[in-house]
């Protein structure tokens, strides 16, 4: 039995624009912040702290590191704000800046979270099983966002990275390939494997760890 009643699947690029509509007062705050107005920068922080923090948390899987990277992202934003020309939505630009900082942080840590080898060859235990055609692997009902959040936190880091960047954040495969220094084919392949793995995990949602605890052990 498959799942019913879903919306049209749109291309990520289209989703980006739909999901990043102009925020009231944002443009003015950006211009004032560029001129050094601390209240305006505070407003930008208030407007975007949740999504930047959540992005960091999903990519890092650790609350403490996510807070540190949120801090770094906004400090970096403060230094780079003058270079924002409005050619893309501000939140898109800020998210790309954040992703690059997180990836740089991970590489400095020496974690092979996004290496080709790791994403192409996850451990046998982590890889999705190749039994997608069998009836007993099918989801039995709709997926709620809380359960999906727990399943995403349980993904192997390489799968989680590509899934979050594409399906949650709306980046396109060519953007992900550039950020992760891999091919677009690899990005597509890893996204597919991530979704297959999520399908497996979602078949037994009662076995998924709670989000907070899972985030602590995902690394």
């Amino acid at each position: 039995m498959g799942l019913q009643g879903l919306q049209m699947q749109t291309k990520p690029n289209a989703g980006l624009f739909k999901r990043n509509p102009p925020i009231a007062g944002e443009a003015e705050a950006i211009e004032r912040a560029k001129n050094g107005d601390p209240d305006a920068f505070s407003k930008l922080y208030s407007l975007h702290k949740r999504r930047v923090y959540t992005l960091c948390l999903r990519m890092l899987g650790n609350v403490s590191e996510a807070e540190d990277m949120t801090q770094e992202a906004f400090l970096h934003l403060f230094r780079k704000l003058g270079s924002f020309r409005g050619e893309s939505a501000f939140s898109t630009w800020l998210h790309r800046l954040t992703v690059n900082l997180v990836l740089m942080h991970l590489r400095k840590k020496g974690l092979q979270l996004v290496s080709l080898e790791e994403t192409i060859n996850p451990s046998e235990e982590d890889a999705p099983k190749r039994d997608f055609g069998s009836r007993d692997t099918q989801l039995a009902g709709s997926v709620d966002r809380v359960t999906l959040e727990r399943a995403v936190a349980s993904l192997p880091p390489g799968y989680r990275m590509v899934f979050v960047l594409h399906d949650v954040e709306g980046f396109e495969h060519n953007e992900i390939a550039t950020m992760l220094e891999c091919s677009t084919g690899n990005s597509k392949s890893q996204l597919h494997k991530a979704r297959l793995k999520l399908r497996e995990l979602l078949r037994n949602p009662e076995q998924l760890p709670e989000v907070e605890s899972s985030r602590e052990v995902v690394q």
């Binding site: 799942l3 403060f78 997608f132 055609g133 597509k188 297959l196």
Partner: protein, 87 residues
């Protein structure tokens, strides 16, 4: 990645479907893959594959709802930012 132009959608095997599926999803310009007319015959003949496609579409759709989050960093994050900006 697999070249879709070489694929015969009506006569492909399940193994070929598996091989081409990442590219099929990535090329989903026409909307939902489960409603792609090129796949109609194959998915009708292979209900497990049809269910797989629908499930993966559901996962991708639900993922979009994760974009908006109610979680926020602790107050110390902004305090630290303020301190660093003053120096």
């Amino acid at each position: 990645m697999s070249d879709l132009s070489k694929l015969d959608f009506d006569s492909m095997t399940v193994a070929e479907f598996e091989q081409y599926l990442p590219e099929l999803f990535a090329s989903g310009e026409s909307g939902r893959l489960s409603e792609d007319p090129r796949l109609a015959t194959f998915l009708t003949a292979n209900p497990d594959c049809a269910a797989l496609v629908r499930d993966l579409e559901t996962i991708a759709e639900t993922a979009k709802s994760l974009f908006v989050s109610e979680e926020e960093p602790s107050d110390k994050v902004w305090s630290n930012i303020e301190k660093k900006l003053k120096h």
